[in-house]
Symmetry: C2
Subunit: 196 residues, 2 copies
């Protein structure tokens, strides 16, 4: 065995975990979300920038504003998920860099004075953090249902502001009946990895 991670943890996070399209009505608590965040906040990013922002859609009124902005195939499952989170990238993340990367507090003014550069860095690093978040949802024994099928500009206007770029929306809960498709194939090692 080349992995040292416990096989049960491998199953929980990757091998048996699945993207859920249906959920039970068991609530997802703020304590669970806090525990997830307090684990995955340690995931590595460039210069320890942490542009990911999480908007928890809890009120029925907010849910009603969100659902029509999703692709039709994503509406019913999102209307019924115990918790819905909008993940976005904060393009003004550089303001926090002197605090977050004390080893080189000048980084903010060296690399990140221009907005397009920040958007690029925020997009990549918030995506890394989004993946850690999905792993964290699974670490809490919950299923995630990440989606990119929605009106990005509409969600930005309705829930965020010009400094934040939506990344994905994630349904969270315990999987319900018929929660997923059969497992789809993956590319083989030799299709993905080359050696030079």
């Amino acid at each position: 065995m080349s992995l040292v991670l416990d096989p049960a943890a491998q199953d929980l996070l990757f091998r048996e975990a699945r993207t859920a399209n249906a959920f039970t009505d068991e609530p997802v608590t703020d304590e669970q979300v806090q525990a997830i965040y307090d684990l995955v906040k340690y995931g590595p990013t460039a210069f320890n920038q942490t542009p990911l922002r999480i908007t928890l859609v809890r009120s029925p009124e907010a849910r009603e504003r969100l659902v029509p902005r999703l692709a039709e195939g994503n509406r019913a499952k999102t209307a019924n998920a115990p918790l819905v989170a909008i993940l976005s990238a904060d393009n003004e993340f550089h303001e926090e860099l002197p605090h977050l990367f004390p080893a080189a507090p000048q980084i903010k003014d060296v690399f990140f004075t221009e907005r397009p550069v920040r958007e690029n860095a925020a997009g990549l690093n918030a995506a890394l953090q989004a993946a850690y978040f999905i792993v964290g949802v699974r670490a809490a024994g919950l299923a995630a249902g990440p989606m990119t099928g929605f009106d990005f500009e509409g969600v930005r206007k309705e829930f965020l502001d010009d400094d934040h770029t939506p990344l994905m929306i994630v349904n969270i809960g315990r999987p319900g009946p018929d929660a997923w498709y059969p497992r789809s194939p993956r590319l083989e090692f030799d299709q993905v990895v080359t050696t030079v």
Copy 2:
């Protein structure tokens, strides 16, 4: 405890794992890389697209071509890492979608006929997969040293082709002496999460 993941696994993957800047000379084997891939290939992406490609830089000749294309502060550690991996996004990933997403094989021709759309999707989903890969390196008991400080166009020309966009370069091995900075602060839950 809101997490069901074993605390030792939490430590291995997030709490005690660190980005390494120095490594021992213990080799990283192809078997280890295969085990990492065979775990993290299950990480979720949109439509099960798997645009991540991994170029293992194993030969001294290839390492010599890579190191000068890194930012100066990344050169010495990359010259000495047991293994270096170039992670890139395959912008022609859509060709594999009918195989990878049999539930809707028409997706390839509905959403992905235009290259800019594919680059956008490949960038996001390969970034998610890069994060899973970093988690997988840690699951193998190894340390990752991901870097974005390099000449992207130079690395593309030297090691890839026009269909592939470099994403990051990751040093991999067992951490050596003084392998990391002190742990930097993270944003608090309330700085990242809002509820609507």
